[in-house]
């Protein structure tokens, strides 16, 4: 009964939160579509070069007739590898990263939560997740036309960001599955060491359904560029796209959809569930930092699939995203280690890997839009800001976000999303916004306007995900309860929730 009321409340909350924002991966096709052709500005070359060859034949013949879509074996192979890399990020990467940071009595519980979360979302994704996120519906939710992947088979194709280039839809389904699965898994770090296993699973189903799917739809859903030939067709495609995509928000690989989204949900969770027993009094030091380091490195390697794979093709932009992911992370690591040396006197291993993850998070929305130097700056800034996120800000928030999901992913995601608006500017070495009507990067780019759009995206995600997370946590708390008992918590979740211990020595 309470539950039903809560469901109604949840639905109402969702309808209400319709403020959103959007970001999208590639370029925001719509906002300022100026059909006027301009000479390719140099920073825009890369993006322009990508789409130009494919579009050229079409322009030569009849502009109204889109080029015949073609599946490329190289693109397909790359997307499948990228998908496997994102799985490497999650299990084992993220799982080990988190596992090393908890106390030795809770290590299995965290591994288990990440592992089972991944499997749970994978199943939900093919049942209804893909359909709700990536089919047309309204600006906030997709439809149910591809429930159980109806109609999706080996011959189906999905659009990319280049006209006339498509990939097998099943590859797209699998690739996006891994994104959907890692995002809820990130949240696990915020309430680690005290939550009931069943509560994690129920919460994740609710949050995935009512926060991840709509936000992914808002930011990433569009029909693809093939139908765009003039301002009118552009308008049609934009009108059918997700809310934030249509606004022109840039989110190449998920700064808001994945990281800010998970970060805020984690923070809300940390508040709702309360602090760990003994927090602030007993030592809760990480039990095995080498494991955390291994996890962070697997995250870094896997992130190439996440970021570079988000281009959906294997081309120059993919290489750009790859290199950006590499250097931003390095810059963020150095920045964190430096500020820690100055601030605390010593540069720590945990600090270095935290810096790396902060850099990875921040470059995620930007990697396909900014130049290499822009990536360096974004990484360095993210290292410094996230350092503050897990120190000063954490004390101000006074929540027991066990593994700093908000401090690193929330703050890093927001920092990256905003800075994407800055460094995507052609004047700062970025590739600008691709104009699918002129088939080249648009010349007009206002940093300020884009930053405002990016901020809209962040705020929408914060509110939407925060509200959904709050309602979902409360629902779970009222029904099955969020926390284990104090005795179970003291004993450790490994034994009390899973009946096994991690180490026998």
């Amino acid at each position: 009964m309470k539950k039903i009321i809560a469901y109604i409340a949840l639905a109402a909350g969702l309808a209400f939160g319709s403020n959103a924002l959007a970001q999208d991966k590639p370029a925001a096709p719509a906002v300022d579509a100026k059909p006027a052709a301009t000479a390719p500005a140099d920073p825009a070359k890369r993006a322009a070069a990508v789409a130009a060859p494919a579009a050229a034949p079409a322009a030569a013949t009849k502009p109204a007739e889109p080029p015949k879509p073609k599946v490329d074996k190289g693109d397909t192979a790359w997307m499948l590898i990228a998908t496997a890399l994102v799985i490497l990020m999650t299990i084992p990467g993220l799982a080990l990263f988190y596992a090393g940071m908890v106390r030795s009595k809770n290590v299995l519980s965290v591994l288990m939560q990440v592992f089972v979360c991944f499997c749970l979302i994978a199943v939900l994704w093919v049942i209804y997740g893909y359909s709700v996120a990536f089919t047309g519906g309204n600006a906030f939710f997709g439809g149910f036309s591809k429930m159980f992947l109806a109609g999706v088979n080996a011959d189906s194709v999905a659009a990319t960001f280049s006209k006339g280039v498509v990939i097998p839809e099943l590859a797209f389904v699998a690739f996006q599955l891994t994104f959907a699965a890692i995002t809820p898994a990130l949240i696990v770090g915020a309430f680690a060491e005290r939550i009931k296993f069943s509560a994690v699973l129920v919460f994740l189903v609710l949050w995935f359904t009512f926060a991840y799917l709509p936000i992914a739809h808002m930011v990433w859903y569009w029909d693809g560029p093939d139908a765009i030939t003039d301002a009118k067709t552009l308008e049609t495609v934009t009108a059918a796209a997700g809310w934030l995509w249509a606004k022109g928000a840039l989110d190449f690989a998920g700064g808001t959809v994945v990281h800010l989204n998970a970060g805020i949900a984690g923070l809300v969770g940390a508040y709702v569930i309360g602090k760990r027993v003994g927090y602030g009094k007993e030592s809760m030091a990480p039990h095995n930092l080498p494991v955390t380091m291994i996890g962070a490195c697997l995250l870094w390697v896997g992130w190439f699939g996440f970021n570079a794979g988000s281009n959906l093709e294997a081309n120059g932009t993919t290489a750009m995203a790859f290199l950006n992911t590499l250097v931003a992370t390095a810059a963020a690591t150095l920045a964190w280690a430096l500020i820690e040396s100055f601030g605390k006197g010593k540069a720590s291993m945990l600090g270095a890997v935290s810096g790396a993850v902060a850099g990875l998070v921040a470059i995620t929305p930007a990697c396909g839009f900014v130049g290499t130097m822009g990536a360096l700056v974004i990484g360095a800034i993210a290292g410094l800001v996230c350092y503050w996120g897990v120190n000063g800000l954490k004390r101000m928030l006074s929540a027991d976000d066990s593994l700093d999901v908000f401090g690193v992913h929330g703050i890093g995601g927001a920092t990256g999303a905003i800075l994407t608006g800055v460094f995507a500017a052609p004047s700062l070495g970025g590739s600008g916004i691709y104009d699918y009507v002129a088939n080249k990067a648009g010349d007009a780019y206002s940093i300020w306007d884009q930053v405002l759009i990016q901020a809209t995206g962040c705020i929408t995600t914060l509110i939407w995900s925060g509200v959904v997370a709050f309602v979902a946590f409360k629902l779970v708390d009222l029904t099955i309860g969020l926390r284990v008992t104090e005795e179970e918590e003291r004993e450790g979740l490994d034994v009390s929730s899973h009946g096994e211990g991690a180490y026998r020595m």
Partner: protein, 112 residues
């Protein structure tokens, strides 16, 4: 008979064992322990969280000896475990009432 218990720095264990063997001590019991004296602990930082580690790892050695060896044993430990820095540890001396060798049933001096 005396029992000598010493708390020493872990890396000094081998030297102490050699020094004791050299003067004829037949057996030593070693335990890894944690504790603090005047040295106190140190601070560890994990992101924003600061933990004061009060208890430092030390090694406790115990030897049972005939009373006439006491001065030699104390001297051996004192010299071999000394670094001159704070945290070198302490030696405690107890009277030992009775010793029994389990295998043979021998007692006291015969059992040492």
């Amino acid at each position: 008979m005396k029992q000598v218990t010493a708390i020493i720095k872990p890396f000094k264990l081998d030297e102490v064992r050699e020094a004791l063997s050299a003067i004829g001590v037949q057996g030593i019991t070693v335990t890894e322990v944690k504790g603090f004296g005047r040295q106190k602990g140190h601070t560890e930082l994990y992101r924003g969280a600061e933990y004061v580690v009060d208890f430092l790892p030390k090694v406790k050695i115990e030897v049972a000896i005939k009373s006439d060896m006491l001065d030699q044993v104390i001297e051996a430990i004192e010299k071999s475990a000394n670094t001159g820095k704070i945290g070198d540890g302490k030696i405690f001396v107890f009277d030992l009432e009775k010793v029994i060798r389990i295998r043979t049933g021998e007692t006291d001096a015969d059992a040492l």
